[in-house]
């Protein structure tokens, strides 16, 4: 039994993986369906309101998926990540590991890796589901844009999990970590209201798959990609420092 296996067991035996994969898969399946049948849904449940919608396109399927997954999916990721990365949430259980593991990164690395891998897997499963249903209901999507956009999404997920790890370094309980991380995740895109800042925000990577499917160039996301790539290890370093500094 090593620390990586411990984290895999945490993910599997507590069924947390189902939450993340379930959310992404659900929206992967529902996104294109919602886009395809939005007109019918409004006509059926809209109470007689007549809304004229343009014919749905394949990009609308991606948009529906991303807009839902970027909110509830991210919330699920934060909750699951906080459950693993709030190392000291139960001090007596933490004492078992921390009395035996002197270097905090040895505790953080498996937790971060397993949560991120699970989340990226969930993102890929959701994207594949969305891609397949979109192809059936709305038409084909450009494979290059979907693959690269998903990679960008995965980079953002890795950043988001690292952000939760850093937050957990300042808070102790799971609930405090969740609420603080959600607050940070909500605040971050607010800075995007400043156009000069927007292109550097990692949260921009969430929409890359939509915009690239609609024809946006790869280069639009390089600044955000670079920021996420450098900030993620910095957040993990901060998390490790905070963990080392904290007493049980």
């Amino acid at each position: 039994m090593n620390l990586y296996r411990l984290e895999v067991l945490r993910m599997v035996r507590t069924h947390r993986w189902m939450m993340v994969v379930g959310v992404y898969l659900l929206f992967g399946l529902l996104g294109p369906v919602t886009a395809r049948y939005m007109g019918e849904i409004i006509r059926r449940f809209g109470g007689g309101v007549e809304v004229v919608l343009a014919d749905p396109t394949p990009v609308d399927g991606v948009l529906q998926f991303v807009s839902n997954a970027s909110q509830l999916g991210l919330l699920a990721v934060i909750v699951v990540a906080a459950g693993a990365l709030a190392v000291d949430a139960r001090p007596e259980a933490a004492a078992f590991l921390r009395a035996r593991v002197a270097e905090p990164w040895r505790l953080l690395a498996p937790r971060y890796t397993v949560v991120t891998a699970t989340t990226v897997l969930a993102l890929v499963i959701g994207t594949v589901a969305m891609w397949a249903v979109t192809a059936v209901l709305l038409g084909s999507l450009p494979p290059g844009a979907i693959v690269i956009g998903t990679v960008f999404g995965a980079v953002y997920v890795a950043f988001a999990v690292a952000m939760v790890a850093a937050v957990a370094g300042f808070t102790r309980s799971v609930i405090a970590t969740v609420f603080t991380a959600v607050g940070v995740a909500i605040l971050l895109p607010v800075f995007g209201l400043f156009p000069s800042v927007n292109r550097f925000l990692p949260s921009r990577l969430i929409n890359a798959v939509v915009e690239m499917s609609a024809g946006a160039p790869f280069s639009d996301y390089v600044p955000a990609l670079l920021v996420a790539t450098f900030v993620t290890p910095a957040l993990l370093w901060l998390a490790a420092r905070r963990l080392a500094a904290r007493e049980l």
Binding site: L26, V79, A102, L248
Partner: protein, 384 residues
């Protein structure tokens, strides 16, 4: 009216099915933080899947884990650093040595210049009332807290120090064998799987190796913590209240185990159960409000404690009490029950020479006379 599209019906059915499945799960499991009815409302009313996620991650108690909340933190008493006193022991072969160890939380001094010396190969009992600073000392030695000032030396590799918390907890979804195997991996990965089995047998858990920890009683958790300590074959065992949660049989087993371990290893344990210390420890440190009041052999502690004797006489004992009240070396003579007298003396030598004749002269029939200076009275004298 236009038909509802089939994919939408399927999706709604999936969502409804998941909500029902989560509600069934809620009905079958223990929950924490909120009552079940509140979780049911959250699952149904809060938009899917936030409610079910919140329940699964925050509310569900997996694997039979108890939903009991942790108790309050121990009290700490504000004291003056100037109160520091401490015994002295030869430090030549000390495995643990602290120098002026001080820990301050805000404006509260939890440890005030503690100088501990734990000789190699000893079973050292750190005793003191609740909130005295025992756990703080052990936590500092375990590397879980840092001293505000002062130093400590462990003359042993860090991986050869095993630490048992006072209320050990483990991830409830692990089996007992997995917990001990994880401890083995962390401190002695070169050891084989047989070390895990041996540690579990030594701690008396051979029947529960494949059971998930979530269903364990406090006593079993304590034994599991001991097994996790033993698996790495440590040189120094630091045990915080190792027998406090155990039933009499379990306590006997753990004390026997500690006694056995003490033959080949150094054991440092904290407790407020004085009979445990008397049974297994050869060295003792008495700590009270962060100050080390005594450190040394138990026999030395008893020797420097005010002597007292327990008399059992045929009542009435009035004449004997009056006679004792006139004796200059008798500090106090009290009758706790009919015919049961405790005599506290200033001069043990004179008491042992003259007490029998005083009883005889009083004309009161003596049933028994025994020394009453035990660890408890010594402890109370030091800490009261």
């Amino acid at each position: 009216m236009e038909e509802i599209p089939t994919p939408l019906i399927v999706a709604l059915a999936v969502v409804a099915g998941l909500v029902v499945a989560v509600l069934v799960d809620l009905w079958r499991h223990d929950v924490r933080h909120l009552p079940k009815w509140a979780w049911a409302l959250i699952i149904v009313l809060v938009s899917f899947p936030i409610g079910p996620i919140a329940y699964f991650v925050l509310g569900r108690v997996p694997g039979g884990e108890s939903a009991v909340r942790l108790g309050p933190h121990p009290h700490r008493f504000p004291i003056s650093v100037a109160d520091v006193t401490g015994g002295a022991l030869p430090t030549a072969d000390a495995i643990v040595e602290t120098r002026n160890l001080t820990k301050v939380y805000g404006d509260t001094v939890a440890l005030a210049g503690v100088d501990l010396v734990v000789p190699r190969g000893s079973v050292y009992g750190l005793i003191g009332p609740n909130g005295a600073g025992k756990t703080t000392v052990l936590s500092i030695l375990a590397g879980l807290r840092r001293p505000t000032s002062g130093t400590f030396t462990l003359d042993v590799e860090r991986r050869s120090v095993a630490v048992l918390a006072d209320t050990p907890q483990f991830d409830p979804w692990l089996t007992a064998r997995e917990v001990v195997d994880l401890a083995r991996y962390l401190v002695a990965p070169e050891l084989g799987a047989t070390a895990v089995d041996e540690a579990l047998v030594e701690a008396g858990l051979e029947e529960a190796t494949q059971r998930r920890v979530g269903g364990f009683s406090r006593g079993m958790l304590q034994r599991l913590g001991l097994a996790a300590c033993l698996v790495g074959d440590p040189e120094l065992l630091v045990l915080d209240e190792p027998s406090s949660a155990l039933d009499p049989a379990g306590r006997r087993q753990v004390l026997d185990l500690i006694g056995e371990l003490g033959r080949t290893r150094t054991v440092m344990l904290s407790t407020h159960i004085l009979s445990d210390v008397q049974q297994v420890c050869d060295m003792v440190g008495v700590i009270d409000r962060g100050v080390l009041r005594f450190q040394g052999r138990i026999s030395d502690l008893l020797a420097q404690t005010t002597a007292s004797y327990a008399l059992h006489v045929r009542p009435p004992a009035t004449r004997l009490l009056q006679a004792l009240g006139r004796v200059e070396w008798v500090r106090r003579a009290t009758e706790s029950a009919q015919g049961r007298i405790t005599v506290v003396v200033d001069d043990a030598e004179r008491a042992e020479t003259e007490l029998a004749s005083i009883i005889a002269a009083s004309g009161v029939a003596l049933v028994s006379l025994n020394p009453a200076t035990d660890l408890e009275s010594a402890f109370l004298e030091l800490t009261s």
